[in-house]
């Protein structure tokens, strides 16, 4: 590849822009996480709010960390939460689970127990039936990682 000085400059600038821009949503090593969110939202940027994740601040055992999520919604036929995607941005694979709700859920709330390999962010993205998306993120400090083998 032959590049003159001007082309090199533009290339350089482009690379700098490409490196700094995606860093803004604060997923340092979370490319896979960002990808999963993108797939889930169809490219829409989720808004902060409505979703509330509840996780321990410090998890001594990463093999079983309780995680609860609730979404503020009337859960009526007209307005309800369709699903909530739970991710962890520091695991070998970010995916954890997707909760699929219905108006018969009464409230959009679910709890499970998850594996966390190390200290990292747990992310919840909620999909409303009107096509909007909301997100919450919580840092969990893990003492003993839970992917051992």
């Amino acid at each position: 590849m032959n590049l003159n000085k001007r082309e090199l400059m533009t290339l350089g600038l482009g690379t700098v822009a490409a490196l700094t821009l995606p860093a803004l949503p604060a997923f340092a090593e979370g490319d896979k996480t960002a990808e999963r969110i993108k797939t889930f939202t169809g490219g829409k940027e989720p808004t902060a709010g409505k979703v509330s994740l509840s996780t321990p601040e410090i998890a001594e055992n990463g093999n079983t960390v309780p995680v609860s999520v609730t979404v503020d919604s009337p859960m009526s036929e007209e307005s309800y939460v369709q699903s909530v995607l739970i991710l962890a941005d520091g695991n070998p694979e970010p995916g954890i689970a997707t909760f699929n709700f219905s108006p018969m859920s009464g409230e959009a709330a679910a709890t499970t127990r998850i594996r966390l390999a190390k200290t990292q962010n747990v992310v919840a993205v909620a999909k409303m039936n009107d096509g909007s998306f909301f997100m919450d993120k919580k840092l969990v400090k893990v003492t003993i990682g839970g992917c051992g083998g």
Binding site: N63, T64, V65, S68, M75, A88, N91, P92, E93, G95, I96, A97, T98, F99, N100, F101, S102, P103, M104, S105, G106, E107, A109, A110, T111, T112, R113, I114, R115, L116, G146, C147, G148, G149
Partner: protein
């Protein structure tokens, strides 16, 4: 292995939002672990889907990935407006299905 345990209130009032707790014993082999002797990866076998139905209609489900802990625990809510029967179904990577049913009286 894999005997499901479910807690559903026996009675509820019409329109009440009840909490359901489920637990099933399953090792949830993540596919990330290596056999200590051979060094080969142990093949993944997890429960990948949970479904809760009420009177035959799906009310809640979960798509599960390997990062859910062994013996997966799930807690969720359902609004009940009539008496009936819940059915809970777990399916794992080997296509094994585990199911249990619970009745509720709504007054």
């Amino acid at each position: 292995m894999a005997r499901p345990r479910v807690k559903v209130p026996k009675k509820a009032s019409k329109g009440e939002v009840i909490t359901i707790k489920t637990l099933i014993s399953h090792k949830m082999e993540s596919g990330q672990r290596k056999d200590r002797k051979t060094g080969e990866k142990i093949p993944r076998n997890i429960i990948n889907k949970f479904t809760a139905k009420f009177n035959g209609k799906e009310v809640f489900s979960v798509d599960i990935e390997p990062a859910v802990s062994a013996n997966p625990y799930l807690q969720f809510s359902v609004k009940v407006s009539e008496s009936g029967e819940f059915e809970f179904i777990w399916v794992d990577d080997d296509k094994k299905t585990y199911a249990t049913k619970k009745k509720i009286t709504v007054e």
